[in-house]
Symmetry: C2
Subunit: 242 residues, 2 copies
DNA sequence: TCAGTTAGTGAGTGATCACTTACTTACTTT
DNA sequence: AAAGTAAGTAAGTGATCACTCACTAACTGA
């Protein structure tokens, strides 16, 4: 297991190095930035998220950041380099064992599954909502930039899937998660419910996410674990099972 | 109920008229189109879906459609007009009672809920997969075009929600759907599972949608109705209930 | 027959695009 | 204090953008 993680990290590092050389972006020293660099990144994220990468011009970014357009190109060789500077470090954080472990720490607690599910939903939803602009940017732009799509799939999604499926298998063996459905479908559905909630919250809360966040998270955990069926249909199911 | 539907249609018609005048697009005679017009629409959908609206130039469309660039503007006054010509009739079909009723026809059958859920999933997934490019285009561009977002929310989503919630309430009253969770959360979670599947299929099938389509749809219905919890946790739940 | 309409286009339009060049300013190093 | 270096920018660059104009060709109805 340790080896697996290390090889993932190496893959990720190799990939970032390759990309950063191709586009001439420095992805290492993301902590020692000028005031103006920070303003450029803020402005870029603002417009990329609102209008999309293609719908944003470097002059718009320069104006909002109150810098000359040439300053942008001084620091991030190209417009795409700027996008990658925003997106890749964010992906790196997610792919990192650190963040994945925060979910595992919840799963490994000795509590009823319902409480674990609710805690996981709360943890992920809060983290994603706090960075909703960036998450949306990554998801949308991965549709149009093949390298981003690859990274999201082969580094982030795969890492999450591998770590989660390990625990799901354990829970299956303990009879705490149903064994008649493949792990990937269980994970996908569990995550879909959170994704749907996030979209609803940000797109049409007054129709599809009317409750308080706490309540919604509790309902999501209820549905994910026990389904939407009422007592009458549950009886049918019990009969079918036996 | 009849009145409600009619008023929805009127709203939709009013809205389309307003928009088509604002952007000078003819959205009525979508069936009597020239050969070249069809080629333009095909090329536009192709690039809009692949590169996004902003990432597509009218010259690209003209080249693929094998027409002069000016021909595009002869028929669709502006680039945005072309987008709306692609998107609005498609939205209209979804908002139409006809398509909504195809789901209701399934619900109204006298079968176990599990079979109904599976049939609904199959019906919607197949229809959406057949038009995946267009669906993706609508969802993505609604992020960047406020009028599209409004239309999707206030005409399509609302219409679907109202019709579905009516049936859910009935099923709740009959004890076939659980009554302790609000309708909007039930509908949202049910639809989220399908959305998640569609995304997985088109984005990372080898990780998150490994099964045959038939199998996946059955698993989705199982999870939506009865949840992911295994027998051990179901016992906990039954105790909690009593 | 001929005026009116529609489909279609080649050759442009100014505006804006991402990006470069040549330069100044300010700070650091020796 | 001299030399080097990084930050920052005004003023461009050619290419491409969405869109227009003036025109031809083909068809339609009176």
């Amino acid at each position: 297991m340790m080896e697996k993680k290390e090889s993932n990290i190496t893959d990720w590092d190799k990939w970032t190095k390759l990309i950063s050389e191709e586009y001439g972006v420095n992805l290492d020293k993301t902590d020692q930035e000028t005031e103006k660099q920070k303003r450029i990144l803020e402005a870029a994220l603002h417009f990329f998220a609102e209008k999309g990468y293609s719908g944003t011009s470097t002059s718009m970014i320069a104006e909002r950041a109150q810098v000359a357009e040439a300053t942008i190109f001084k620091h991030y060789k190209s417009k795409k380099g700027l996008l990658l500077r925003l997106v890749i470090p964010a992906l790196g954080k997610v792919a990192t064992p650190y963040l994945i472990r925060s979910v595992l720490n919840i799963i490994d607690q000795d509590k009823p599954l319902y409480q674990l599910a609710q805690e996981i939903y709360a943890d992920r939803v809060h983290k994603i909502e706090a960075n909703w602009d960036k998450v949306r940017l990554i998801l949308v732009e991965s549709l149009f930039h093949p390298e981003l799509r690859e990274a999201l799939k082969n580094h982030v999604l795969k890492a999450i899937y591998e770590v989660m499926s390990e625990r799901i298998e354990e829970l299956k063996a303990a009879g705490r998660i149903r064994q008649d459905i493949p792990t990937h479908a269980l994970i996908r559905s569990f995550m879909s419910i959170a994704l749907g909630y996030l979209i609803a919250r940000n797109f049409a809360p007054e129709i599809m996410a009317q409750g308080k966040e706490e309540e919604e998270l509790a309902w999501m955990a209820e549905i994910a674990l026990y389904g939407v069926a009422g007592p009458a249909e549950k009886e049918l199911w019990r009969e079918k099972e036996e």
